[in-house]
């Protein structure tokens, strides 16, 4: 592997090797840019992964403590792990279920379309869908998204048959959806064997991840150096206010300072905001790039929730790809429903260990027992919808320090009335679908720890409204970028990763262009 010196100030340093950082690293490297990729987690391989929900969770998850406050259920149910992501080379792309949807056109103009909703900090994106579309095309091709480029959809599995029957009975539009999971062999990776364990690493490799696609290709260019078990703890800047180095701690606990031509944060939202806040200096007393006070604010996590239902006969939802189902009828913005924005309905499947854990985390007694005993006959259905940005929903630093001396982050989130109206509407819609397929009991499970982490370093058309410009570049620090979901101006409804990848491709093009022009 190519190696760069710590005092080589010609390299772009990327923090985090997940969907955003791993993609950007490859896209820069193949354009000839020299990149050092710092990743807190280990470099695991398919051989290391297991087919076991808890063992996989413990192997891959970012388990460092966080704290939570606010009215969201995560503060009660998951007070020290309110947000869910991975700490491993490949980040959460090693764990995700690979649903791949595009933002709707109106979602990128949320403030204009939804209007002035009290308590929200809605803005329009500094980008239009037309500007994003070519990059969505590139992302779908690289990820092998089903139903694009002639790739067939995932086939219906048992859980989907339930969803399909119910949705059809209600006249809804239902399909298995789009996934970065091979339905047929593609790009040197095999078709899914329907083992149902993408979330513990995917031993088969039929699902796209930066671990199995982007990082190896980036390394093959000879321009990328990957440093696993390298925990970034601070970003430094020079006298001119430009980012100049990243301080990180290696596996042996030794601290290093990697000089940089440009720095990109891709730590999955919470960690990126945390690092910016922690990198405060005399010149940036509120934290790096935080002159307007937006770093950490407007944090979003989507209106995510699941209904688990019991049927008379076996479903065996654990067999096969976990989220291969989609209903799009509630995606349009329809104020007549009583809330702004929309949501997607998707399928959800879990094994018995995590179904029991997430069904309702404090629930015990005979009623719980009577439900979980019928795991075999259980089906799951899920939604992800747009939540409203609020200035007070934010990542902040607490007084407690972690093992690296960085303050533990707190995530504060209060549900907006619009969020609660959407939740209520969604629970009813999810339940109706399962009832129409014959469910005898439906359980409304609360949201699990935030799996979609968005918005806390948002892009905006004007510096005073956000942290980043439309290229994901910090308004106040011209060689500092963000390549994760924290840069989204608003959340939209869909799962975020396809958009993170599309934006990373676009950002690589921009950065390489600026470098070629001598401007970066």
């Amino acid at each position: 592997m190519t190696r760069y010196e710590h005092d080589d100030s010609g390299v772009v340093v990327i923090i985090g090797s997940g969907a955003g950082g791993g993609t950007l690293a490859h896209e820069l490297a193949r354009r000839g840019v020299e990149v050092v990729l710092l990743e807190a987690g280990k470099h695991l391989t398919a051989e290391d992964f297991v087919n076991d929900e808890w063992a996989g969770y413990e192997m891959l998850t970012w388990l460092d403590k966080r704290t939570a406050s606010g009215t969201w259920r995560a503060a009660k149910d998951h007070p020290t792990s309110p947000s869910w992501s991975c700490q491993v080379v490949g980040g959460t792309s090693v764990h995700w279920s690979a649903c791949c949807y595009r933002f709707a056109e109106h979602e990128l103009r949320a403030r204009t379309v939804y209007g002035d909703i009290p308590g929200t900090t809605l803005i329009d994106w500094p980008l239009t869908l037309a500007e994003l579309e070519p990059y969505y095309d590139l992302a779908e091709t690289k990820m092998g998204v089903t139903r694009t480029n002639g790739l067939p959809p995932l086939p219906p599995n048992n859980n989907f048959k339930v969803m399909h029957a119910g949705a059809k009975a209600l006249g809804l539009t239902v399909s298995t959806g789009r996934h970065a999971i091979n339905s047929i062999p593609y790009d040197g990776r095999p078709a899914t064997m329907q083992d149902g364990f993408t979330i513990t690493g995917d031993k088969v490799g039929s699902r796209w991840s930066t671990l199995n696609v982007e990082i190896p290709r980036g390394l093959a260019t000879g321009k990328l150096e990957l440093r696993p078990q390298a925990r970034a703890v601070r970003i430094e800047h020079d006298d001119g206010g430009k980012a100049s180095a990243v301080v990180y701690v290696d596996a042996q606990g030794v601290t290093h300072r990697q000089k940089a031509r440009a720095v990109v944060l891709a730590g999955n939202c919470v960690e990126s905001s945390r690092l910016l806040l922690h990198s405060a200096s005399a010149r940036f007393p509120q934290g790096l790039a935080n002159g307007w006070g937006h770093v950490g604010r407007h944090y979003l996590r989507h209106v995510v929730q699941t209904v688990w239902s019991i049927f008379d006969k076996p479903v065996n939802m654990h067999r096969g790809e976990l989220m291969a189902g989609l209903v799009t009828d509630y995606l349009p913005h329809d104020p007549g429903r009583g809330f702004a924005g929309g949501y997607l309905i998707e399928m959800n499947s879990m094994g018995l260990p995590t179904t029991a854990a997430f069904l309702d985390p404090g629930w015990w007694g005979r009623d719980f027992v009577s439900v979980i005993e019928q795991y075999r006959n259980m089906a799951g259905i899920f939604m992800t919808g747009e939540d409203m940005p609020q200035a007070g929903n934010r990542v902040t630093l607490t007084d407690e320090l972690d093992a690296f001396g960085v303050p533990v982050a707190n995530i504060h989130y209060d549900d907006h009335p619009n969020d609660l109206r959407m939740r209520n509407h969604g629970y009813k819609a999810l339940t109706a679908i399962h009832k129409a397929a014959g469910a005898k009991r439906c359980v409304e499970a609360p949201a699990y720890p935030a799996s979609h982490n968005i918005g806390s370093n948002r892009m905006a058309a004007n510096a005073e409204d956000g942290v980043l410009d439309g290229n994901g570049r910090a308004w106040e620090v011209p060689n500092l970028f963000i390549a994760d979901g924290s840069g989204f101006a608003t959340g939209g409804a869909c799962n975020p990763t396809l958009t993170i990848v599309a934006l990373a491709i676009r950002q690589a093009e921009f950065m390489a262009g600026e470098m070629a022009a001598g401007a970066l």
């Binding site: 076991d52 048992n158 399909h164 064997m193 654990h318 018995l352 404090g362 397929a437």
Partner: protein
């Protein structure tokens, strides 16, 4: 009407260590590292009251206690949480928790709900009880699949009591 249910055959990933082997018979708690027999008995009664599955053998709940014990051995904070919790349940009535009727046991646990010690014990019970191959088989979860070729030829789409969506319709 429910159909008669064939028990599932479940698999634990072959790379993982086996579940703890707890002896049958009354002296099962003797091999534990941290808990003494009264402590183990109290916790066993707690787990059976929290998650009272009629069809599951006592041995399965004993394995949960063995995993509690391992967690306590690994972390003094966890060990202290268990100790505080057992003090709480045993001190709530003029009789030790394990000797209480089901109704009294439930009352005691309801009163402790919301305490940190209760949350620790309740969450860890869920964590370990439903992570047991024998429970998987009882409730129809088949577990590890990749070493068997996944489910692509083993029933990922074998549900036959609803129509199968046809190509073009999904």
């Amino acid at each position: 009407m429910s159909e008669p249910v064939r028990p599932a055959i479940a698999h634990r990933d072959p790379k993982l260590p086996p579940l703890p082997d707890v002896p049958e018979g009354p002296d099962w708690a003797g091999g534990l590292k941290v808990f003494d027999a009264p402590m183990a008995t109290a916790l066993l009664a707690v787990t059976r009251t929290l998650y009272p599955h009629q069809g599951l053998r006592e041995q399965i709940y004993r394995r949960v206690i063995a995993r509690f014990d391992a967690a306590a051995a690994a972390s003094p904070v966890v060990a202290q949480g268990f100790a505080a919790f057992v003090d709480g349940v045993n001190g709530a009535m003029p009789l030790p928790f394990a000797e209480l009727s089901e109704g009294f046991r439930e009352q005691v646990l309801k009163r402790l709900e919301g305490t940190a010690a209760f949350t620790l014990v309740q969450r860890l019970t869920v964590r370990f009880l439903y992570d047991d191959v024998e429970v998987w088989e009882a409730f129809g979860y088949e577990g590890a699949a990749v070493h068997l070729g996944g489910y692509v030829t083993r029933g990922f789409d074998d549900l036959d009591w609803l129509p199968t969506p046809q190509p073009g319709d999904y």
